[in-house]
């Protein structure tokens, strides 16, 4: 039955729950689990949508829940529930024990109680009070959509804002006991331009973590100009002709290709599945020597940054590829257990209803020595991908990405805009072909969907040149 009132023995956010959590963890260990982890979450989210000159949607949501994970040998059982009472959590533990078919009440694990609370939320208590009010958000979004009203060809103008606040308590049988508050804010602009049979889209998204005031200083005019210009440039573009060609990928969101095509293959989840071609390539060359790639959760304010991962570990700076040599995989607790790769503070999940998995945070290719112009000048016939859309990677490592804004490169110069391009390839073949990296590294926020749900990430790179890639078109 759904509870009609808050029970007395229930997890309380913002208070000490140590005794209660210890009791629950001890219960799991006493039933034969090797390891017990509790991830308890309280969330408070709001999204606002402005269309044309009206606010058309304000959607608050909030919730509470717990994810309980139990390991026995290398197996794990995961139960999620909205019931945060002692009884509810213990019932979930029993369910996980039963799922793993643990009948033997003995194990090699000893639970010595939780460590002293690591409170990462101390300086973040007021974040929820400091974020812009719905009034402030609405006013600014309406200013941004007004700024897009530059031309009668602009037929759709949208501005959107989302704020996700999350308070977590993480406790596990190795003594981990931590609490944290996360705050992500994102704002996006979308435009559709139309003229007779011609149509184009433009979009930009901005995001930050842990900066309550960030939205207030967002330069909506600059963003509107950028998205308007992009859309107008593409309005009368011809379809690109398909074929193999060299490409220059722009910085910022251009990094989505590395994220999707290579980054995912360096998560231990992929080793476990046997779906990465790089599992036996540690300390071997997998990319051109000009490529150094990093994943970290430390950059101040970046969308993929975190104080602790969702398993209670502080994030590290992981150099994945150094001068073309594979140096590290991203690992979580299950990854370490099953593949032997040490945890990197990369255990992440969308919310309590997902078990954590090894996931990227802020992932980027390090800057090189070339200017953007030098990259373009080195190509006689190719494609410049100024803005990338979404993409995906299949089970065999093959990726494809839509180019949102593209231009032909002819005799070392950018010429006419082209639409409908898709970049197709696989990481193993493309990484050795990244022959030049620019000196203009920039990052961009994004959302990454995978086995543990959608998580906030940053992608990035300088301008890079790929010597040859398949471009899908007409």
């Amino acid at each position: 039955m759904v509870s009609a009132s808050i029970k007395s023995t229930e997890i309380r956010f913002g208070e000490c729950n140590k005794k209660l959590l210890e009791e629950i963890i001890f219960y799991g260990i006493s039933l034969g689990a090797d390891f017990v982890e509790l991830f308890i979450e309280n969330s408070d989210n709001t999204s606002v949508l402005a269309e044309e000159d009206f606010i058309t949607s304000v959607s608050p949501s909030f919730g509470r829940g717990a994810g309980i994970r139990i390991f026995k040998d290398k197996r794990d059982g995961f139960v999620s529930t909205n019931d945060l009472s002692k009884h509810g959590l213990m019932r979930s533990i029993s369910q996980a024990i039963e799922m793993l078919d643990i009948s033997k009440k003995t194990n090699n694990s000893i639970f010595n109680g939780l460590e002293k609370l690591k409170n990462y939320s101390k300086s973040k208590i007021d974040w929820l009070n400091e974020v812009p009010t719905i009034n402030e958000v609405s006013d600014k979004l309406l200013l941004s959509t007004k700024s897009l009203k530059k031309d009668k060809k602009v037929v759709v103008r949208k501005g959107s804002y989302a704020r996700n606040w999350q308070e977590v308590i993480i406790a596990s049988s190795d003594g981990t006991y931590a609490t944290d508050i996360r705050l992500h804010q994102t704002v996006g602009l979308n435009i559709i331009a139309n003229d007779a049979q011609y149509r184009s889209n433009g979009s930009r998204r901005f995001g930050s973590h842990g900066i309550p005031n960030e939205f207030r200083s967002w330069d909506h005019e600059k963003a509107a100009n950028d998205v308007y210009e992009s859309s107008m440039n593409m309005l009368y573009a011809d379809y690109v002709q398909a074929g193999q060609m060299p490409v220059v990928l722009a910085n910022k969101f251009g990094g989505v290709i590395f994220h999707e095509a290579c980054g995912h293959l360096l998560e231990t989840t992929q080793i476990e599945r046997g779906t990465t071609p790089f599992s036996d390539k540690l300390n071997k060359k997998i990319a051109h020597e000009s490529v150094t790639a990093i994943d970290e959760g430390l950059s101040d304010g970046s969308f993929g940054s975190l104080s602790i991962d969702d398993e209670g570990m502080e994030p590290e700076k992981s150099i994945l590829i150094k001068d073309g040599i594979l140096k590290k995989f991203l690992s979580d607790r299950a990854g370490e257990l099953r593949t032997g790769h040490k945890r990197t503070g990369s255990g992440r999940r969308q919310n309590y209803s997902f078990a954590a998995a090894s996931r990227m945070r802020n992932t980027y290719i390090a800057k090189g020595e070339f200017t953007k112009e030098e990259l373009i000048n080195s190509i006689s016939d190719g494609l410049y991908c100024k803005s990338m859309g979404g993409g995906s990677v299949g089970a065999t490592g093959q990726f494809n990405f839509a180019v949102e804004e593209g231009y032909l490169i002819q005799n070392g110069k950018l010429t006419k805009p082209v639409k409908g391009a898709t970049l197709i390839g696989d990481a193993k073949e493309v990484l050795p072909r990244i022959s030049m990296c620019g000196n203009d590294l920039e990052l961009a926020p994004g959302f990454c969907g995978s086995v543990s749900g959608s998580v906030n990430v940053t992608v990035g790179q300088p301008h890079i040149k790929v010597d040859s890639i398949t471009v899908g078109g007409r």
Partner: protein, 452 residues
């Protein structure tokens, strides 16, 4: 743990009275889900979840709507949700008023399905282990089943409003998916798979799931690249339904109002495909495992003709879009601050105006050259619904003189308007897929980009 719908409705009524909220509605969902994954016989991840979520809408004195979603169904949680929805209503859309669906009290058609009992994790695990083992044994090149799962779900949905509307249904659903990865020396790995649904695990044809996954994966082992160019194309039922769902904004009144559809308010009656094509939305179809008798606003689900003899016949609507179009809601609404609209389950068939079709084009018999597209991928990235264009990677075969060979990697690109008007055959046999029913559809010429 069982949701008590009457208790929740009563709690909302009481809290709404205290807060002086006279008009409200809510949609709620409660589910118990169980799923397993395996890795070469070992249990990989076993999952269970109990979820409860409620979406509340309230109307203020100016008849503006505010909304809140929460998983906290305690008395305190529901009161907070109503308060937040009340605050949100101050920002309600003054440009488009939303109301209760006028059909929210109409009778609904609840399908008499055989609701199954949970098998439990242990049984699910045993079944999946056996399926994985059989698939691994089916061919020496199949080295792993990296994506696999067996799940069962038991859920209840409710809609109620302050006007006395109250409706609910509960059902069970199960799914199995097996995606195998095959490797041969000096060749690239290949992957394919199969998904099967049922009301319960016992309804799933497991042997056919294994057989289909094995057959498809092995068939792709012998591959070659394809030369970039224009090809005669046959779309599998699944591929054609994927395409139509991706471009369903053509039928979607919400998308039309928002300016992101290829249609406009006056498009009803326009010839948008060849006259031989009929498309319905039929959420209540007996074969639709996921059918729901009412939508997010409580409007009954019904069969609706979308394309009749090539002409656009109806749009799908929510309450507010129907009001703008001076019609009635069609049972396709979600429940949100801005109510979304989406199709349920498409059924594609040949109309009786099919004399111009080239009936010699049957994918199992045709001896000429063509590309067979079995499955389209990366829809979210490769479809520009508002522009009508697509550029999508696919799994498929190149047929030459009656012999087929798997295509290494390729994308198909084109325009939905062109595609619908260049259908040159609709095969006779309709096939059931997880997203609807359709026959094979032949397109005169589409651009394919390959590695050559």
């Amino acid at each position: 743990m069982k949701m008590n719908a009457t208790e929740i409705t009563s709690q909302i009524t009481t809290a709404a009275n205290i807060l002086n909220i006279e008009k409200w509605d809510y949609g709620a969902s409660f589910s118990n889900d169980f799923s397993v994954q395996v890795d070469k016989g070992a249990a990989k991840q076993l999952k269970a979840s109990q979820k409860q979520v409620i979406t509340l809408r309230v109307w203020n004195k100016e008849n503006l709507v505010g909304i809140t979603t929460t998983s906290d169904l305690s008395e305190k949680g529901i009161k907070k949700a109503l308060e937040q929805a009340s605050i949100a209503s101050e920002f309600g859309n003054k440009n488009e008023f939303t109301d209760f669906s006028p059909l929210a009290n109409d009778p609904i058609q609840v399908k008499e399905v055989d609701k199954k009992n949970p098998l439990g994790i242990k049984k699910l695990l045993q079944i999946l282990r056996e399926a994985e083992s059989k698939l691994l044994d089916s061919h020496e090149a199949i080295k792993s089943i990296p994506y696999n799962g067996l799940s069962e779900s038991f859920y209840e949905r409710i809609y109620a409003n302050s006007n006395g509307a109250f409706r609910n249904y509960s059902k069970s659903q199960a799914a199995m998916y097996l995606y195998a990865r095959a490797e041969e020396k000096d060749k690239k790995p290949r992957s394919s798979g199969s998904v099967k649904l049922g009301y319960g695990v016992e309804d799933i044809d497991i042997e056919s799931c294994i057989e289909e996954a094995a057959k498809k994966t092995i068939a792709h082992l012998d591959y070659s690249s394809i030369k970039t160019g224009k090809y005669l194309v046959c779309l599998s039922p699944e591929a054609f339904l994927t395409m139509m769902n991706a471009f369903s904004s053509i039928f979607n009144a919400r998308s039309i109002i928002d300016g992101v559809s290829l249609s406009d308010k006056n498009s009803i009656g326009d010839l948008i495909s060849i006259p031989a094509l009929n498309i319905y939305d039929d959420g209540l179809n007996d074969k639709n495992i996921s059918s729901a008798p009412f939508d997010g606003e409580g409007t009954p689900t019904k069969k609706l003709s979308l394309i009749n003899k090539g002409k656009l016949e109806n749009f799908i609507h929510s309450e507010s879009t129907a009001k703008i179009f001076n019609t009635i809601p069609t049972g396709h609404a979600g429940l949100g601050s801005k109510v979304s609209v989406s199709p349920d389950w498409l059924v594609v068939e040949k109309s009786n105006e099919c004399s111009d079709l080239n009936r010699t084009l049957v994918h199992t018999n045709y001896q000429g050259n063509f590309v067979y597209i079995e499955e389209l991928n990366a829809i979210h990235a490769g479809v520009r619904a508002s522009q009508g264009s697509f550029s999508l990677p696919f799994e498929g075969w190149l047929y030459k003189n009656g012999k087929k060979r798997s295509i290494e990697s390729a994308t198909v690109a084109g325009d939905i308007k062109y595609l619908l008007k260049n259908i040159i055959n609709i095969e006779n046999e309709e096939e059931l897929t997880t997203s609807g029913i359709s026959p094979h559809i032949w397109i005169n010429e589409l651009s394919i980009t390959g590695d050559e």
